[in-house]
Symmetry: C2
Subunit: 311 residues, 2 copies
Protein backbone atom coordinates (compact mmCIF):
# COMPACT_ATOMS: atom_id res chain seq x y z
CA UNK A 1 0.00 0.00 0.00
CA UNK A 2 1.20 3.49 -0.82
CA UNK A 3 1.46 5.83 2.15
CA UNK A 4 2.69 9.35 2.75
CA UNK A 5 1.27 12.82 2.15
CA UNK A 6 0.86 12.40 -1.60
CA UNK A 7 -1.26 9.24 -1.44
CA UNK A 8 -4.89 9.32 -2.41
CA UNK A 9 -7.44 6.55 -1.90
CA UNK A 10 -10.42 5.47 -3.97
CA UNK A 11 -12.84 3.18 -2.11
CA UNK A 12 -15.77 1.51 -3.91
CA UNK A 13 -18.69 -0.25 -2.22
CA UNK A 14 -20.13 -2.05 -5.25
CA UNK A 15 -23.64 -3.49 -5.14
CA UNK A 16 -26.02 -5.10 -7.61
CA UNK A 17 -28.34 -2.08 -7.54
CA UNK A 18 -25.74 0.72 -7.25
CA UNK A 19 -22.35 1.67 -5.86
CA UNK A 20 -20.98 4.22 -3.40
CA UNK A 21 -17.56 5.73 -4.08
CA UNK A 22 -15.27 7.62 -1.69
CA UNK A 23 -12.31 9.70 -2.81
CA UNK A 24 -9.85 10.61 -0.04
CA UNK A 25 -7.08 13.08 -0.86
CA UNK A 26 -4.83 14.70 1.74
CA UNK A 27 -7.37 14.22 4.52
CA UNK A 28 -10.37 15.44 2.51
CA UNK A 29 -13.01 12.87 1.56
CA UNK A 30 -15.80 13.13 -1.01
CA UNK A 31 -18.55 10.50 -1.44
CA UNK A 32 -20.56 9.96 -4.60
CA UNK A 33 -22.96 7.43 -6.15
CA UNK A 34 -22.22 5.34 -9.21
CA UNK A 35 -23.93 2.52 -11.09
CA UNK A 36 -24.26 -1.14 -10.13
CA UNK A 37 -21.64 -3.87 -10.51
CA UNK A 38 -23.05 -7.04 -12.05
CA UNK A 39 -21.33 -10.30 -11.10
CA UNK A 40 -22.75 -11.83 -14.28
CA UNK A 41 -20.22 -9.67 -16.20
CA UNK A 42 -16.43 -9.35 -15.68
CA UNK A 43 -16.12 -7.59 -12.33
CA UNK A 44 -12.72 -5.88 -12.30
CA UNK A 45 -13.44 -4.13 -15.62
CA UNK A 46 -16.53 -2.55 -14.01
CA UNK A 47 -14.54 -1.56 -10.91
CA UNK A 48 -11.89 0.05 -13.14
CA UNK A 49 -14.55 2.08 -14.98
CA UNK A 50 -15.98 3.37 -11.70
CA UNK A 51 -12.46 4.35 -10.53
CA UNK A 52 -11.87 6.09 -13.87
CA UNK A 53 -15.05 8.15 -13.46
CA UNK A 54 -14.12 9.02 -9.85
CA UNK A 55 -10.69 10.30 -10.95
CA UNK A 56 -11.80 12.01 -14.16
CA UNK A 57 -9.99 15.35 -14.63
CA UNK A 58 -7.80 14.72 -11.54
CA UNK A 59 -4.02 14.82 -12.11
CA UNK A 60 -2.25 11.46 -12.02
CA UNK A 61 -0.73 10.60 -8.65
CA UNK A 62 -0.04 7.58 -6.44
CA UNK A 63 -3.39 5.96 -5.60
CA UNK A 64 -4.68 3.06 -3.49
CA UNK A 65 -7.81 1.47 -4.99
CA UNK A 66 -10.05 -0.72 -2.79
CA UNK A 67 -13.34 -2.35 -3.75
CA UNK A 68 -15.85 -4.46 -1.85
CA UNK A 69 -18.09 -6.21 -4.35
CA UNK A 70 -21.45 -7.87 -3.70
CA UNK A 71 -21.30 -11.59 -4.49
CA UNK A 72 -17.64 -11.49 -5.61
CA UNK A 73 -16.54 -15.01 -6.55
CA UNK A 74 -12.96 -16.32 -6.30
CA UNK A 75 -12.55 -16.54 -10.09
CA UNK A 76 -13.69 -12.90 -10.47
CA UNK A 77 -11.13 -11.79 -7.86
CA UNK A 78 -8.32 -10.64 -10.18
CA UNK A 79 -6.40 -7.82 -8.48
CA UNK A 80 -3.43 -7.96 -10.94
CA UNK A 81 -5.82 -7.33 -13.81
CA UNK A 82 -7.46 -4.45 -11.93
CA UNK A 83 -4.02 -2.94 -11.28
CA UNK A 84 -3.14 -3.18 -14.98
CA UNK A 85 -6.46 -1.56 -15.98
CA UNK A 86 -5.94 1.43 -13.66
CA UNK A 87 -2.16 1.96 -13.71
CA UNK A 88 -2.56 4.96 -16.05
CA UNK A 89 -4.60 6.70 -13.31
CA UNK A 90 -1.69 6.36 -10.90
CA UNK A 91 -3.09 3.30 -9.09
CA UNK A 92 -0.15 1.36 -7.64
CA UNK A 93 -1.95 -0.66 -4.98
CA UNK A 94 -5.19 -2.66 -5.28
CA UNK A 95 -7.40 -4.46 -2.73
CA UNK A 96 -10.47 -6.54 -3.63
CA UNK A 97 -12.89 -8.16 -1.15
CA UNK A 98 -16.29 -9.87 -1.02
CA UNK A 99 -18.86 -7.42 0.35
CA UNK A 100 -19.27 -9.51 3.51
CA UNK A 101 -15.69 -8.49 4.42
CA UNK A 102 -16.32 -4.76 3.92
CA UNK A 103 -19.65 -5.08 5.77
CA UNK A 104 -17.79 -6.76 8.63
CA UNK A 105 -15.14 -4.04 8.84
CA UNK A 106 -17.78 -1.31 8.59
CA UNK A 107 -19.85 -2.84 11.38
CA UNK A 108 -17.18 -4.21 13.73
CA UNK A 109 -13.82 -2.80 12.66
CA UNK A 110 -10.97 -5.18 13.49
CA UNK A 111 -12.61 -6.67 16.62
CA UNK A 112 -13.70 -10.30 16.63
CA UNK A 113 -17.44 -10.95 16.31
CA UNK A 114 -20.15 -11.38 13.68
CA UNK A 115 -21.89 -9.22 11.10
CA UNK A 116 -25.15 -10.12 9.41
CA UNK A 117 -25.49 -8.08 6.22
CA UNK A 118 -29.16 -7.98 5.27
CA UNK A 119 -30.50 -6.55 2.02
CA UNK A 120 -32.41 -8.32 -0.76
CA UNK A 121 -30.26 -11.29 0.27
CA UNK A 122 -28.31 -11.96 3.45
CA UNK A 123 -24.81 -13.14 4.26
CA UNK A 124 -23.39 -13.55 7.76
CA UNK A 125 -19.65 -13.45 8.50
CA UNK A 126 -17.94 -14.44 11.73
CA UNK A 127 -14.36 -13.58 12.72
CA UNK A 128 -12.71 -15.25 15.72
CA UNK A 129 -9.79 -17.22 17.09
CA UNK A 130 -10.44 -20.07 14.63
CA UNK A 131 -10.54 -17.75 11.59
CA UNK A 132 -13.54 -16.71 9.53
CA UNK A 133 -16.86 -18.41 8.71
CA UNK A 134 -19.33 -17.28 6.05
CA UNK A 135 -22.91 -18.49 6.63
CA UNK A 136 -25.82 -18.62 4.15
CA UNK A 137 -25.77 -16.12 1.27
CA UNK A 138 -27.16 -18.98 -0.85
CA UNK A 139 -29.49 -16.82 -2.94
CA UNK A 140 -33.25 -16.44 -3.09
CA UNK A 141 -34.03 -19.93 -4.42
CA UNK A 142 -32.32 -21.98 -1.70
CA UNK A 143 -31.27 -19.66 1.10
CA UNK A 144 -31.00 -16.02 2.22
CA UNK A 145 -33.04 -16.89 5.31
CA UNK A 146 -34.28 -13.74 7.05
CA UNK A 147 -33.49 -11.39 4.12
CA UNK A 148 -35.83 -8.83 2.55
CA UNK A 149 -36.64 -11.38 -0.18
CA UNK A 150 -37.36 -14.02 2.45
CA UNK A 151 -39.62 -11.65 4.43
CA UNK A 152 -41.41 -10.37 1.32
CA UNK A 153 -41.97 -13.88 -0.03
CA UNK A 154 -43.34 -15.01 3.34
CA UNK A 155 -45.68 -12.00 3.33
CA UNK A 156 -47.08 -12.86 -0.11
CA UNK A 157 -47.35 -16.54 0.86
CA UNK A 158 -49.35 -15.42 3.93
CA UNK A 159 -51.61 -13.25 1.74
CA UNK A 160 -52.37 -16.24 -0.51
CA UNK A 161 -52.98 -18.55 2.47
CA UNK A 162 -55.47 -16.04 3.82
CA UNK A 163 -57.12 -15.76 0.39
CA UNK A 164 -57.36 -19.59 0.15
CA UNK A 165 -58.74 -20.04 3.66
CA UNK A 166 -55.60 -21.96 4.68
CA UNK A 167 -54.95 -19.58 7.60
CA UNK A 168 -56.64 -16.97 9.71
CA UNK A 169 -57.18 -13.52 8.22
CA UNK A 170 -54.24 -11.13 7.83
CA UNK A 171 -54.08 -7.52 6.70
CA UNK A 172 -51.30 -8.68 4.35
CA UNK A 173 -54.00 -9.99 1.98
CA UNK A 174 -55.42 -6.50 1.39
CA UNK A 175 -51.90 -5.01 1.34
CA UNK A 176 -50.78 -7.48 -1.35
CA UNK A 177 -53.78 -6.56 -3.53
CA UNK A 178 -52.96 -2.85 -3.08
CA UNK A 179 -49.34 -3.47 -4.15
CA UNK A 180 -49.77 -6.03 -6.94
CA UNK A 181 -53.44 -6.20 -7.98
CA UNK A 182 -55.83 -9.15 -7.72
CA UNK A 183 -54.24 -12.18 -6.04
CA UNK A 184 -55.25 -14.92 -8.54
CA UNK A 185 -53.10 -13.19 -11.19
CA UNK A 186 -50.21 -12.41 -8.81
CA UNK A 187 -48.03 -15.46 -9.31
CA UNK A 188 -48.22 -15.46 -13.11
CA UNK A 189 -47.36 -11.75 -13.15
CA UNK A 190 -44.37 -12.20 -10.81
CA UNK A 191 -43.05 -15.36 -12.51
CA UNK A 192 -43.01 -13.52 -15.82
CA UNK A 193 -41.32 -10.37 -14.50
CA UNK A 194 -37.51 -10.23 -14.90
CA UNK A 195 -37.26 -8.11 -11.71
CA UNK A 196 -39.45 -10.39 -9.58
CA UNK A 197 -36.72 -10.85 -6.95
CA UNK A 198 -36.65 -7.09 -6.31
CA UNK A 199 -40.48 -6.89 -6.40
CA UNK A 200 -40.86 -9.65 -3.82
CA UNK A 201 -38.07 -8.18 -1.63
CA UNK A 202 -39.85 -4.81 -1.81
CA UNK A 203 -42.87 -6.34 -0.08
CA UNK A 204 -40.73 -6.76 3.09
CA UNK A 205 -41.33 -3.06 3.81
CA UNK A 206 -45.10 -3.71 3.72
CA UNK A 207 -44.73 -6.69 6.06
CA UNK A 208 -42.88 -4.37 8.48
CA UNK A 209 -45.65 -1.76 8.21
CA UNK A 210 -48.42 -4.30 8.84
CA UNK A 211 -46.50 -5.75 11.79
CA UNK A 212 -46.21 -2.25 13.26
CA UNK A 213 -49.98 -1.89 12.80
CA UNK A 214 -50.48 -5.01 14.91
CA UNK A 215 -51.16 -7.76 12.36
CA UNK A 216 -50.27 -10.98 14.18
CA UNK A 217 -49.24 -12.94 11.07
CA UNK A 218 -46.90 -10.12 9.95
CA UNK A 219 -45.38 -10.02 13.45
CA UNK A 220 -44.82 -13.80 13.27
CA UNK A 221 -43.00 -13.43 9.94
CA UNK A 222 -40.59 -10.86 11.44
CA UNK A 223 -40.09 -13.05 14.50
CA UNK A 224 -39.31 -16.04 12.28
CA UNK A 225 -36.91 -13.90 10.17
CA UNK A 226 -35.10 -12.82 13.34
CA UNK A 227 -34.85 -16.48 14.40
CA UNK A 228 -33.26 -17.34 11.05
CA UNK A 229 -30.77 -14.47 11.30
CA UNK A 230 -29.91 -15.47 14.87
CA UNK A 231 -29.36 -19.08 13.76
CA UNK A 232 -26.86 -17.85 11.15
CA UNK A 233 -25.14 -15.57 13.68
CA UNK A 234 -24.80 -18.40 16.21
CA UNK A 235 -23.41 -20.78 13.55
CA UNK A 236 -20.84 -18.08 12.67
CA UNK A 237 -19.91 -17.63 16.35
CA UNK A 238 -19.48 -21.38 16.96
CA UNK A 239 -17.47 -22.01 13.81
CA UNK A 240 -14.99 -19.26 14.70
CA UNK A 241 -14.26 -20.50 18.22
CA UNK A 242 -16.88 -18.81 20.40
CA UNK A 243 -18.26 -20.75 23.38
CA UNK A 244 -21.42 -20.15 25.43
CA UNK A 245 -20.69 -17.33 27.90
CA UNK A 246 -17.82 -15.76 25.91
CA UNK A 247 -18.27 -12.04 25.28
CA UNK A 248 -18.70 -11.27 21.57
CA UNK A 249 -19.81 -8.37 19.41
CA UNK A 250 -22.69 -9.01 16.96
CA UNK A 251 -23.68 -6.26 14.55
CA UNK A 252 -25.48 -5.75 11.26
CA UNK A 253 -25.29 -3.94 7.97
CA UNK A 254 -28.07 -2.79 5.67
CA UNK A 255 -31.35 -0.90 5.72
CA UNK A 256 -33.52 -3.95 6.48
CA UNK A 257 -32.26 -4.13 10.07
CA UNK A 258 -31.50 -0.41 10.44
CA UNK A 259 -35.05 0.63 9.51
CA UNK A 260 -37.06 -2.18 11.11
CA UNK A 261 -37.07 -1.73 14.90
CA UNK A 262 -39.20 -4.83 15.53
CA UNK A 263 -36.93 -7.14 13.51
CA UNK A 264 -33.87 -5.72 15.29
CA UNK A 265 -35.45 -6.14 18.73
CA UNK A 266 -36.42 -9.74 17.96
CA UNK A 267 -32.84 -10.41 16.80
CA UNK A 268 -31.47 -8.85 19.99
CA UNK A 269 -33.80 -11.05 22.10
CA UNK A 270 -32.91 -14.20 20.17
CA UNK A 271 -29.17 -13.63 20.55
CA UNK A 272 -29.33 -12.77 24.26
CA UNK A 273 -31.45 -15.90 24.88
CA UNK A 274 -29.62 -18.37 22.67
CA UNK A 275 -26.00 -17.10 22.81
CA UNK A 276 -25.18 -15.81 26.27
CA UNK A 277 -22.24 -13.43 26.21
CA UNK A 278 -22.85 -12.26 22.65
CA UNK A 279 -24.40 -8.79 22.45
CA UNK A 280 -26.05 -7.12 19.45
CA UNK A 281 -24.59 -3.64 18.98
CA UNK A 282 -25.15 -0.91 16.40
CA UNK A 283 -22.65 -0.88 13.50
CA UNK A 284 -19.62 1.42 13.92
CA UNK A 285 -20.04 2.81 10.41
CA UNK A 286 -21.20 2.07 6.88
CA UNK A 287 -20.02 -0.60 4.47
CA UNK A 288 -18.18 2.15 2.54
CA UNK A 289 -16.32 2.91 5.79
CA UNK A 290 -15.54 -0.82 5.84
CA UNK A 291 -14.12 -0.73 2.30
CA UNK A 292 -11.84 2.12 3.40
CA UNK A 293 -10.56 -0.01 6.31
CA UNK A 294 -9.58 -3.00 4.13
CA UNK A 295 -6.13 -1.61 3.30
CA UNK A 296 -5.39 -1.12 7.01
CA UNK A 297 -6.16 -4.72 8.05
CA UNK A 298 -3.31 -5.77 10.35
CA UNK A 299 -1.11 -8.63 9.11
CA UNK A 300 -2.20 -11.88 10.76
CA UNK A 301 -5.78 -10.68 11.28
CA UNK A 302 -8.24 -13.49 10.38
CA UNK A 303 -9.67 -11.33 7.57
CA UNK A 304 -6.21 -10.93 6.01
CA UNK A 305 -6.61 -14.12 3.95
CA UNK A 306 -9.94 -12.85 2.55
CA UNK A 307 -8.22 -9.90 0.85
CA UNK A 308 -7.07 -10.13 -2.80
CA UNK A 309 -4.12 -7.74 -3.30
CA UNK A 310 -1.83 -6.49 -6.02
CA UNK A 311 0.86 -3.80 -6.16
CA UNK B 1 -71.87 -34.02 -27.28
CA UNK B 2 -72.19 -36.45 -30.15
CA UNK B 3 -73.40 -39.91 -29.19
CA UNK B 4 -74.33 -43.07 -31.02
CA UNK B 5 -72.37 -45.94 -32.55
CA UNK B 6 -70.42 -43.78 -34.99
CA UNK B 7 -69.00 -41.41 -32.35
CA UNK B 8 -65.33 -41.44 -31.52
CA UNK B 9 -63.63 -39.62 -28.65
CA UNK B 10 -60.20 -38.04 -28.37
CA UNK B 11 -59.15 -37.28 -24.78
CA UNK B 12 -55.97 -35.31 -24.04
CA UNK B 13 -54.31 -34.98 -20.63
CA UNK B 14 -51.93 -32.12 -21.39
CA UNK B 15 -49.03 -31.35 -19.06
CA UNK B 16 -46.02 -29.05 -19.09
CA UNK B 17 -43.62 -31.97 -19.51
CA UNK B 18 -45.71 -34.21 -21.79
CA UNK B 19 -49.23 -35.29 -22.70
CA UNK B 20 -51.21 -38.54 -22.71
CA UNK B 21 -53.76 -39.09 -25.45
CA UNK B 22 -56.62 -41.61 -25.59
CA UNK B 23 -58.50 -42.49 -28.75
CA UNK B 24 -61.80 -44.33 -28.19
CA UNK B 25 -63.60 -45.73 -31.23
CA UNK B 26 -66.54 -48.13 -31.06
CA UNK B 27 -65.56 -49.39 -27.62
CA UNK B 28 -61.86 -49.82 -28.41
CA UNK B 29 -59.40 -47.46 -26.71
CA UNK B 30 -55.77 -46.76 -27.55
CA UNK B 31 -53.46 -44.61 -25.38
CA UNK B 32 -50.34 -42.84 -26.61
CA UNK B 33 -47.85 -40.19 -25.48
CA UNK B 34 -47.41 -36.80 -27.08
CA UNK B 35 -45.42 -33.65 -26.36
CA UNK B 36 -45.99 -31.00 -23.69
CA UNK B 37 -48.50 -28.14 -23.78
CA UNK B 38 -46.95 -24.82 -22.78
CA UNK B 39 -49.30 -22.26 -21.21
CA UNK B 40 -46.83 -19.55 -22.22
CA UNK B 41 -47.98 -20.17 -25.84
CA UNK B 42 -51.54 -20.24 -27.27
CA UNK B 43 -53.07 -23.37 -25.75
CA UNK B 44 -55.89 -24.45 -28.05
CA UNK B 45 -53.58 -24.40 -31.09
CA UNK B 46 -51.34 -26.94 -29.30
CA UNK B 47 -54.35 -29.07 -28.33
CA UNK B 48 -55.52 -29.04 -31.96
CA UNK B 49 -52.10 -30.21 -33.18
CA UNK B 50 -52.11 -33.11 -30.72
CA UNK B 51 -55.63 -34.09 -31.85
CA UNK B 52 -54.48 -33.89 -35.47
CA UNK B 53 -51.57 -36.25 -34.79
CA UNK B 54 -53.87 -38.66 -32.91
CA UNK B 55 -56.29 -38.82 -35.87
CA UNK B 56 -53.69 -38.83 -38.64
CA UNK B 57 -54.67 -41.26 -41.42
CA UNK B 58 -58.06 -41.97 -39.75
CA UNK B 59 -61.16 -41.31 -41.88
CA UNK B 60 -63.19 -38.23 -40.95
CA UNK B 61 -66.13 -38.97 -38.66
CA UNK B 62 -68.10 -37.37 -35.81
CA UNK B 63 -65.68 -36.80 -32.92
CA UNK B 64 -65.83 -35.49 -29.35
CA UNK B 65 -62.57 -33.77 -28.31
CA UNK B 66 -61.82 -33.25 -24.61
CA UNK B 67 -58.67 -31.76 -23.09
CA UNK B 68 -57.52 -31.19 -19.52
CA UNK B 69 -54.64 -28.71 -19.57
CA UNK B 70 -52.14 -28.01 -16.80
CA UNK B 71 -52.40 -24.40 -15.62
CA UNK B 72 -55.16 -23.49 -18.11
CA UNK B 73 -56.16 -19.85 -17.57
CA UNK B 74 -59.62 -18.42 -18.33
CA UNK B 75 -58.34 -16.31 -21.24
CA UNK B 76 -56.71 -19.41 -22.81
CA UNK B 77 -60.00 -21.33 -22.51
CA UNK B 78 -61.32 -20.85 -26.06
CA UNK B 79 -63.43 -23.88 -27.00
CA UNK B 80 -65.01 -22.19 -30.07
CA UNK B 81 -61.55 -21.61 -31.50
CA UNK B 82 -60.56 -25.22 -30.78
CA UNK B 83 -63.72 -26.42 -32.54
CA UNK B 84 -62.90 -24.29 -35.59
CA UNK B 85 -59.31 -25.59 -35.69
CA UNK B 86 -60.42 -29.25 -35.63
CA UNK B 87 -63.71 -29.22 -37.60
CA UNK B 88 -61.95 -30.71 -40.65
CA UNK B 89 -61.12 -33.80 -38.54
CA UNK B 90 -64.83 -34.33 -37.84
CA UNK B 91 -64.74 -32.75 -34.37
CA UNK B 92 -68.24 -31.44 -33.62
CA UNK B 93 -68.06 -31.23 -29.84
CA UNK B 94 -65.29 -29.75 -27.66
CA UNK B 95 -64.66 -29.72 -23.89
CA UNK B 96 -61.79 -27.87 -22.20
CA UNK B 97 -60.93 -27.98 -18.48
CA UNK B 98 -58.17 -26.97 -16.06
CA UNK B 99 -56.17 -30.07 -15.10
CA UNK B 100 -57.44 -29.87 -11.53
CA UNK B 101 -60.91 -30.76 -12.89
CA UNK B 102 -59.67 -33.80 -14.83
CA UNK B 103 -57.55 -34.85 -11.84
CA UNK B 104 -60.66 -34.57 -9.66
CA UNK B 105 -62.78 -36.71 -11.99
CA UNK B 106 -59.97 -39.25 -12.38
CA UNK B 107 -59.53 -39.56 -8.61
CA UNK B 108 -63.11 -39.19 -7.33
CA UNK B 109 -65.46 -39.49 -10.30
CA UNK B 110 -68.66 -37.50 -9.74
CA UNK B 111 -68.74 -37.95 -5.93
CA UNK B 112 -68.21 -34.95 -3.66
CA UNK B 113 -64.81 -34.69 -1.96
CA UNK B 114 -61.31 -33.34 -2.55
CA UNK B 115 -58.37 -34.15 -4.81
CA UNK B 116 -54.83 -32.93 -4.24
CA UNK B 117 -52.90 -33.16 -7.50
CA UNK B 118 -49.20 -33.21 -6.68
CA UNK B 119 -46.44 -33.02 -9.27
CA UNK B 120 -43.75 -30.36 -9.69
CA UNK B 121 -46.47 -28.04 -8.37
CA UNK B 122 -49.67 -28.79 -6.48
CA UNK B 123 -53.29 -27.75 -6.80
CA UNK B 124 -56.12 -28.95 -4.57
CA UNK B 125 -59.76 -28.95 -5.67
CA UNK B 126 -62.81 -29.48 -3.49
CA UNK B 127 -66.34 -30.28 -4.71
CA UNK B 128 -69.30 -30.12 -2.34
CA UNK B 129 -72.74 -28.73 -1.61
CA UNK B 130 -71.45 -25.15 -1.79
CA UNK B 131 -69.78 -25.67 -5.17
CA UNK B 132 -66.06 -25.92 -5.94
CA UNK B 133 -62.95 -24.44 -4.29
CA UNK B 134 -59.46 -24.40 -5.79
CA UNK B 135 -56.65 -24.08 -3.20
CA UNK B 136 -53.00 -23.10 -3.76
CA UNK B 137 -51.49 -23.83 -7.18
CA UNK B 138 -49.68 -20.49 -6.79
CA UNK B 139 -46.44 -21.61 -8.43
CA UNK B 140 -42.97 -22.31 -7.10
CA UNK B 141 -42.11 -18.73 -6.06
CA UNK B 142 -45.06 -18.10 -3.74
CA UNK B 143 -46.94 -21.35 -3.21
CA UNK B 144 -47.23 -25.01 -4.27
CA UNK B 145 -46.83 -26.01 -0.62
CA UNK B 146 -46.10 -29.73 -0.31
CA UNK B 147 -45.26 -30.22 -4.02
CA UNK B 148 -42.18 -31.95 -5.45
CA UNK B 149 -40.58 -28.50 -5.93
CA UNK B 150 -41.39 -27.60 -2.33
CA UNK B 151 -39.94 -30.89 -1.02
CA UNK B 152 -36.84 -30.69 -3.24
CA UNK B 153 -36.18 -27.06 -2.29
CA UNK B 154 -36.55 -27.91 1.40
CA UNK B 155 -34.09 -30.78 0.92
CA UNK B 156 -31.45 -28.52 -0.66
CA UNK B 157 -32.07 -25.86 1.99
CA UNK B 158 -31.48 -28.57 4.63
CA UNK B 159 -28.25 -29.64 2.89
CA UNK B 160 -26.96 -26.04 2.98
CA UNK B 161 -27.98 -25.59 6.63
CA UNK B 162 -26.04 -28.73 7.49
CA UNK B 163 -23.04 -27.47 5.47
CA UNK B 164 -23.19 -24.09 7.27
CA UNK B 165 -23.53 -25.59 10.75
CA UNK B 166 -27.01 -24.05 11.11
CA UNK B 167 -28.55 -27.46 11.86
CA UNK B 168 -27.64 -30.95 12.91
CA UNK B 169 -26.09 -33.26 10.32
CA UNK B 170 -28.27 -34.77 7.59
CA UNK B 171 -27.49 -37.32 4.89
CA UNK B 172 -29.11 -34.82 2.48
CA UNK B 173 -25.83 -32.86 2.50
CA UNK B 174 -23.88 -35.75 0.94
CA UNK B 175 -26.82 -36.59 -1.34
CA UNK B 176 -26.96 -33.00 -2.64
CA UNK B 177 -23.23 -33.09 -3.46
CA UNK B 178 -23.72 -36.40 -5.29
CA UNK B 179 -26.56 -34.90 -7.36
CA UNK B 180 -25.28 -31.38 -8.02
CA UNK B 181 -21.58 -31.16 -7.15
CA UNK B 182 -19.90 -29.04 -4.48
CA UNK B 183 -22.42 -27.05 -2.41
CA UNK B 184 -20.76 -23.59 -2.51
CA UNK B 185 -21.32 -23.52 -6.30
CA UNK B 186 -24.84 -25.01 -6.12
CA UNK B 187 -26.95 -21.86 -5.94
CA UNK B 188 -25.15 -20.03 -8.73
CA UNK B 189 -25.44 -23.10 -10.95
CA UNK B 190 -29.18 -23.50 -10.25
CA UNK B 191 -30.01 -19.78 -10.56
CA UNK B 192 -28.39 -19.74 -13.98
CA UNK B 193 -30.10 -22.91 -15.26
CA UNK B 194 -33.31 -22.37 -17.27
CA UNK B 195 -34.66 -25.73 -16.00
CA UNK B 196 -33.89 -25.07 -12.32
CA UNK B 197 -37.52 -25.64 -11.28
CA UNK B 198 -37.41 -29.19 -12.67
CA UNK B 199 -33.92 -29.78 -11.18
CA UNK B 200 -35.04 -28.72 -7.72
CA UNK B 201 -38.29 -30.72 -7.98
CA UNK B 202 -36.22 -33.76 -9.01
CA UNK B 203 -34.45 -33.65 -5.64
CA UNK B 204 -37.78 -34.59 -3.96
CA UNK B 205 -37.11 -38.20 -4.98
CA UNK B 206 -33.78 -38.05 -3.10
CA UNK B 207 -35.47 -36.60 -0.01
CA UNK B 208 -37.89 -39.55 -0.13
CA UNK B 209 -35.00 -42.01 -0.43
CA UNK B 210 -33.08 -40.46 2.50
CA UNK B 211 -36.25 -40.43 4.62
CA UNK B 212 -36.72 -44.14 3.88
CA UNK B 213 -33.10 -44.67 4.99
CA UNK B 214 -33.95 -43.08 8.33
CA UNK B 215 -32.56 -39.53 8.04
CA UNK B 216 -34.54 -37.54 10.61
CA UNK B 217 -34.36 -34.21 8.78
CA UNK B 218 -35.62 -35.80 5.54
CA UNK B 219 -38.47 -37.42 7.48
CA UNK B 220 -39.36 -34.01 8.97
CA UNK B 221 -39.51 -32.48 5.48
CA UNK B 222 -41.99 -35.14 4.31
CA UNK B 223 -44.03 -34.70 7.48
CA UNK B 224 -44.14 -30.93 6.94
CA UNK B 225 -45.10 -31.44 3.26
CA UNK B 226 -47.97 -33.72 4.35
CA UNK B 227 -49.09 -31.06 6.84
CA UNK B 228 -49.17 -28.47 4.05
CA UNK B 229 -51.15 -30.78 1.75
CA UNK B 230 -53.59 -31.56 4.57
CA UNK B 231 -54.04 -27.84 5.26
CA UNK B 232 -55.01 -27.31 1.61
CA UNK B 233 -57.36 -30.32 1.66
CA UNK B 234 -59.09 -29.08 4.81
CA UNK B 235 -59.47 -25.56 3.38
CA UNK B 236 -61.07 -27.14 0.27
CA UNK B 237 -63.44 -29.23 2.43
CA UNK B 238 -64.54 -26.25 4.54
CA UNK B 239 -65.04 -23.92 1.60
CA UNK B 240 -67.31 -26.43 -0.15
CA UNK B 241 -69.64 -27.00 2.80
CA UNK B 242 -68.04 -29.85 4.75
CA UNK B 243 -68.34 -29.81 8.56
CA UNK B 244 -66.33 -31.71 11.17
CA UNK B 245 -67.70 -35.26 11.34
CA UNK B 246 -69.22 -35.31 7.82
CA UNK B 247 -68.08 -38.25 5.71
CA UNK B 248 -66.00 -37.14 2.72
CA UNK B 249 -63.71 -38.70 0.16
CA UNK B 250 -60.17 -37.30 -0.14
CA UNK B 251 -57.90 -38.61 -2.88
CA UNK B 252 -54.82 -37.66 -4.84
CA UNK B 253 -53.33 -37.58 -8.30
CA UNK B 254 -49.72 -37.75 -9.40
CA UNK B 255 -46.58 -39.81 -8.88
CA UNK B 256 -45.34 -37.82 -5.87
CA UNK B 257 -48.03 -39.28 -3.60
CA UNK B 258 -48.42 -42.58 -5.48
CA UNK B 259 -44.71 -43.44 -5.17
CA UNK B 260 -43.96 -42.04 -1.71
CA UNK B 261 -45.53 -44.29 0.93
CA UNK B 262 -44.28 -42.18 3.85
CA UNK B 263 -45.71 -38.93 2.48
CA UNK B 264 -49.04 -40.65 1.81
CA UNK B 265 -49.17 -42.18 5.30
CA UNK B 266 -48.41 -38.81 6.91
CA UNK B 267 -51.19 -37.23 4.82
CA UNK B 268 -53.60 -39.98 5.87
CA UNK B 269 -52.70 -39.41 9.54
CA UNK B 270 -53.04 -35.62 9.26
CA UNK B 271 -56.48 -35.87 7.64
CA UNK B 272 -57.83 -38.44 10.09
CA UNK B 273 -56.60 -36.30 13.02
CA UNK B 274 -57.58 -32.86 11.76
CA UNK B 275 -60.71 -33.59 9.68
CA UNK B 276 -62.79 -36.31 11.31
CA UNK B 277 -65.10 -37.99 8.82
CA UNK B 278 -62.88 -37.32 5.83
CA UNK B 279 -60.99 -40.40 4.63
CA UNK B 280 -58.01 -40.56 2.27
CA UNK B 281 -58.69 -43.16 -0.42
CA UNK B 282 -56.75 -44.31 -3.47
CA UNK B 283 -57.71 -42.62 -6.76
CA UNK B 284 -60.31 -44.45 -8.88
CA UNK B 285 -58.25 -43.97 -12.03
CA UNK B 286 -55.77 -41.74 -13.83
CA UNK B 287 -56.09 -38.11 -14.85
CA UNK B 288 -56.56 -39.32 -18.45
CA UNK B 289 -59.55 -41.34 -17.18
CA UNK B 290 -60.72 -38.05 -15.66
CA UNK B 291 -60.43 -36.23 -18.99
CA UNK B 292 -62.58 -38.94 -20.56
CA UNK B 293 -65.26 -38.38 -17.88
CA UNK B 294 -65.54 -34.61 -18.47
CA UNK B 295 -68.08 -34.98 -21.29
CA UNK B 296 -70.31 -37.14 -19.06
CA UNK B 297 -70.51 -34.65 -16.17
CA UNK B 298 -74.20 -34.52 -15.16
CA UNK B 299 -75.96 -31.17 -15.65
CA UNK B 300 -76.11 -29.31 -12.34
CA UNK B 301 -73.00 -31.05 -10.97
CA UNK B 302 -70.76 -28.47 -9.19
CA UNK B 303 -67.99 -29.13 -11.76
CA UNK B 304 -70.35 -28.29 -14.64
CA UNK B 305 -69.48 -24.58 -14.46
CA UNK B 306 -65.76 -25.38 -14.67
CA UNK B 307 -66.17 -26.89 -18.17
CA UNK B 308 -65.63 -24.77 -21.29
CA UNK B 309 -67.73 -26.21 -24.14
CA UNK B 310 -68.43 -25.68 -27.81
CA UNK B 311 -70.43 -27.58 -30.43
Amino acid sequence: MTTGPDTRRVSIDGGQSGSRVRLAIDGTTTDRDDGPIFTSRPVVEQVAEIARRALADAPVRATTLTAGVSGLTPDQSRPERLLALTADLGVDSVFLVHDSVSAYLGANGFDHGVVTAVGTGVVTLGVGDLGTARIDGWGHLLGDAGSAYWIGRAGLDAALRSFDGRSGATSLERAAVDEFGELPELYMRLQGAPDHVASIAGFARIVGREADSGDGIAVDILRHAATELATSVIAALRRTGWHEGDASRVSWMGAVLTRNDMLREHLRDEISTRAQGAVVQAPLGTSLDGVEKVADTPPGHPLDIEIYRAG
